[in-house]
């Protein structure tokens, strides 16, 4: 029995090799994952990044885009530090990819001891760019524009509470920008996760936030909160009445990347395999619908274009962190 099974196996192998060698000469060289793909999440289970990864996992499973399962693995520690170090240690691994946000730039800048150089990672695909708006509770009938907001926040001075998602995070950078651009003294209070921040504003426990549209969408649709202006180049379709900061004289545009990155030193074939895989995910009806619903923007970027984008964004973040005093120049 065992013997015959071995024979069968051998036959199958020979057939496979034969097919690979003669039948499909082009794909024979191409990379195919041999074991489950590990998809590292820089956040805990249930966080924004985690949800996006599980969404992509479902798209891949539903359309059978990969021959092996994709398994998300959460490395939430240290604002992405744990995930970055984990991926760094996976040097040369062809089965580990990671989903990343802007802590991809800020965490290595703030913690040089980690020894993470993002230029070593393999660019796979930028799936979208998330946007930011300035939000207040709809109970504030007196605040309908950024001018009203500035007036109200100035009157309250240090007692104006801006809720955000952690120190030196995207929200913190934007708060610092608003403080210096309009001469405000808003107090920044960090919470765990954008959903929690959105809820603090809806419950009137904070005076304003700089949430992503997706985080406030539920409350916005229920009429609980309202956007005053957005940090985008053009107005966001969902919030036609909210101007961009550019329109009102402060040329400030800020995005958060949602990008798939591969382990450092990944083989070229593997990198192009994942680029192909995530191009399919990007073009799927589900992902396009998700982007529309969440007011996500941006085209897909990959390869050297993505690497250039990273370098540019890292420099911008470096300047911002220096300005806010989080790192030295």
């Amino acid at each position: 029995m065992i013997h015959s099974r071995r024979k069968l196996l051998g036959l199958g192998l020979a057939l496979g090799v034969g097919l690979a060698a003669f039948g499909l000469p082009k794909t024979a060289m191409a990379f195919e994952p041999q074991k489950p793909i590990e998809f590292v999440v820089m956040a805990g289970k249930g966080g924004g990044a985690d949800k996006a990864v599980r969404f992509m996992q479902s798209i891949i499973a539903k359309h059978k885009l990969a021959p092996v399962p994709v398994t998300p693995i959460n490395k939430p520690g240290g604002s992405g530090a744990e995930a970055l170090v984990y991926l760094k240690q996976k040097k040369g691994d062809n089965h580990t990819i990671m989903f990343t946000l802007n802590s991809f730039y800020t965490t290595p800048l703030r913690q040089p001891a980690l020894g993470v150089n993002i230029e070593n990672f393999t660019p796979v695909a930028r799936m979208a760019e998330d946007t930011f708006c300035l939000w207040v509770n709809s109970d504030r009938k007196d605040i309908n524009s950024v001018d009203d907001f500035v007036k109200a926040a100035k009157a309250k001075g240090k007692d104006w509470i801006m809720a955000g998602t952690g120190k030196a995070s995207e929200d913190n950078l934007l708060t610092d920008f608003l403080n210096s651009a309009y001469g405000l003294q808003m107090k920044y209070v960090p919470y765990k996760g954008g959903g929690k921040v959105a809820k603090e504003l809806a419950g009137n426990n904070a005076n304003s936030t700089v949430n992503n549209p997706s985080e406030q969408l539920g409350f916005f649709e229920a009429g609980t909160t309202k956007p005053l202006a957005c940090f985008t180049p053009e107005r966001i379709g969902l919030f036609k009445d909210a101007p961009t900061f550019k329109e009102i004289g402060k040329d400030f545009v800020y995005f958060m990347q949602r990008t798939v990155v591969g382990a450092p030193g990944m083989s070229k074939d593997a990198a192009s395999y994942y680029q192909g895989l995530f191009t399919k995910v990007f073009n799927s009806e589900e992902w396009q619908g998700y982007m529309k619903k969440k007011a996500l923007q941006g085209d897909m970027l990959s390869g050297s274009a993505l690497m250039d984008y990273w370098k540019r964004e890292r420099d911008i973040h470096k300047q911002m962190l220096i300005k806010m005093g989080a790192i030295k120049g």
Binding site: K45, A61, K167, Y191, G203, N204, G218
Partner: protein, 509 residues
């Protein structure tokens, strides 16, 4: 009222479609076993099975996942009672009395009590959910950092009597738990702390399960090995027998704990509603209060049935409660509901204030499925009790290695990091030694569970108030909770005074 009943009736029609009904029953069964495996828990179960649900329509899929969540709440008690290892943080309080009961040869009683209490908690909370959802969502929204901290204070205060009478040792144990809870990322400053010179394994902090499985699993096993050795090789796992008579007697005794079950259900539900609290603080508080109001508090920790009834009714009630902020606010009340939330987004059901009007079929189908899941979970659970008891009859030499392997898996599963497995073994040995020296361990576990919830809330509150502690006493919801917490906290100090006054009265008579 009539409208709600009509909507619920429609919901039942959806939940009782054959496919959905099968999914609910299947989910309950899967959840029961996932919950019974230490370390797996509902979070991992729901996360792993999420992509599978693409095979069925969205409503059925979310019913399936909710049934898993529900079944796991039942199952969590099983490993707590039989092995003394809490499978999830929600089942920690169940070990306190469930395990002693099992050791006394009354595992069947503990398991029956857990199942019935879970059923009571689940049923009451689903009723509350059906009729009181929108107004409570408003309260949940108003809960900010000061309210959260007051609630955590209340949870700590209800537990003051937990560590026995040795107050210094209890405080020591709580402090150890709080220090371990502080390892990892400082949410306010965004910096890593207590990572022992950048050991990456410490960056994600110390998961509660690593400590709980370490001291309850590994430590308990070392303890049992020692007792086993002393007893000359006789099995230390008690032989519980199951007969119809015994089961009837157990059920009869359970009737006497109806007050505890009601208290646990209501408390669990209301705590569960609060965003970010989840089922764990609710079950711990229910245990603490059950002990405080009991006529025989000295029995707690040694095998009191109320000590199983209170946390089990509360954690099931809370798991229903935590669906409320998820559905109405889009804010998950627990890690598992966070993943459910992710699932809903994938299926195009946007949770939030408008879900109840935009997708009424889905919402009421889900609520109806909770009634059904609760009903099936209790039947499946009770049906499996003899099988669980049979496991306990395995010889210790066979059972011990199985438990050890389960512990290792349980320590590895949440973070998939070997660092945590080593840490867990160290905690096991240290826990065993602490127990030898008569240090209570439950307060340490309590602290590592509640610490990460309490600390950011305290610091956010003080940041908002510029360092004024008055913030806890000047807000509508925070003030009463904080005052209750302080009264409970100082109750042990006041007790001698009360006794003194009471004693004089009787003397006068």
């Amino acid at each position: 009222m009539v409208e709600i009943i009509t909507l619920l009736w429609n919901g039942f029609a959806i939940a009782f479609e054959p496919v959905n009904l099968m999914l609910i029953i299947g989910g309950c069964t899967v959840g029961l076993f996932i919950g019974a495996m230490p370390g797996l828990g509902s979070v991992n179960g729901v996360a792993i099975l999420l992509p599978l649900t693409f095979l069925v329509p969205p409503t059925g899929a979310i019913m399936f996942l909710a049934a898993i969540y529900y079944g796991a709440m039942y199952g969590g008690a099983i490993s707590s009672i039989m092995l003394g290892i809490p499978g999830a943080s929600t089942a920690v309080a169940t070990t306190f009395d469930g395990r002693p009961l099992a050791k006394l040869g009354m595992a069947d009683k503990a398991l029956t009590a857990a199942a019935v209490a879970s059923f009571v908690g689940g049923s009451i909370s689903v009723l509350l959910f059906t009729f009181l959802a929108p107004p409570l969502a408003h309260v949940a929204l108003r809960f900010g950092a000061p309210e959260e901290f007051s609630l955590m204070m209340l949870a700590f205060a209800t537990f003051i009597g937990l560590g026995g009478d040795d107050i210094p040792k209890t405080i020591f144990s709580i402090c150890i738990g709080l220090v371990l809870a502080a390892v990892g990322l400082d949410i306010i400053s965004g910096e890593p702390r207590l990572v022992f010179g950048n050991i990456t394994g410490f960056l994600h902090g110390i998961n509660f399960l690593v400590l709980a499985i370490g001291i309850y699993g590994i430590g308990e096993m070392l303890w049992t090995v020692e007792e086993h050795y002393k007893a000359g090789g006789k099995s230390m796992m008690s032989d519980a027998v199951i007969t119809v008579q015994r089961t009837m007697a157990n059920l009869k005794e359970l009737l006497g704990t109806w007050k505890t079950a009601l208290m646990g259900s209501f408390l669990g539900y209301f705590v569960g509603i609060l965003p970010a609290a989840g089922a764990t603080p609710g079950s711990l508080m229910a245990y603490g209060i059950a002990k405080q109001i009991s006529h025989e508090p000295e029995k707690f920790g040694k095998g009191a049935v109320e000590g199983v009834v209170a946390p089990e009714s509360a954690n099931n009630a809370a798991s229903t409660g935590s669906m409320l902020p998820m559905l109405t606010l889009g804010i998950p009340g627990s890690p598992t509901t966070a993943i459910l939330l992710g699932g809903m987004v994938i299926w195009g059901l946007e949770p939030g204030p408008r879900l109840f009007t935009d997708h009424a079929d889905f919402v009421w189908g889900l609520i109806a499925s909770l009634y059904a899941a609760n009903f099936f979970a209790v039947i499946i659970n009770i049906a499996f009790i003899p099988a669980f008891i049979w496991v306990l009859k395995l010889p210790f030499t066979l059972l011990a290695p199985i438990i050890f392997v389960l512990c290792l898996i349980g320590g590895y599963a949440p973070t998939q990091d070997m660092h945590d497995v080593w840490l867990m073994i160290i905690f096991g040995i240290v826990g065993y030694l602490m127990r030898k020296l008569d240090y209570p361990l439950a307060p340490a576990v309590l602290a590592i569970v509640l610490g990460p919830l309490a600390e950011p809330a305290l610091r956010q509150s003080l940041l908002i108030s510029s360092g004024e502690f008055s913030i806890f006493f000047t807000r509508v919801y925070s003030a009463p909770i904080m005052i209750c917490a302080l009264i409970l906290l100082f109750l042990p100090l006041l007790k001698p005074v009360i006794r003194l006054v009471g004693g004089r009265k009787t003397a006068r008579r």
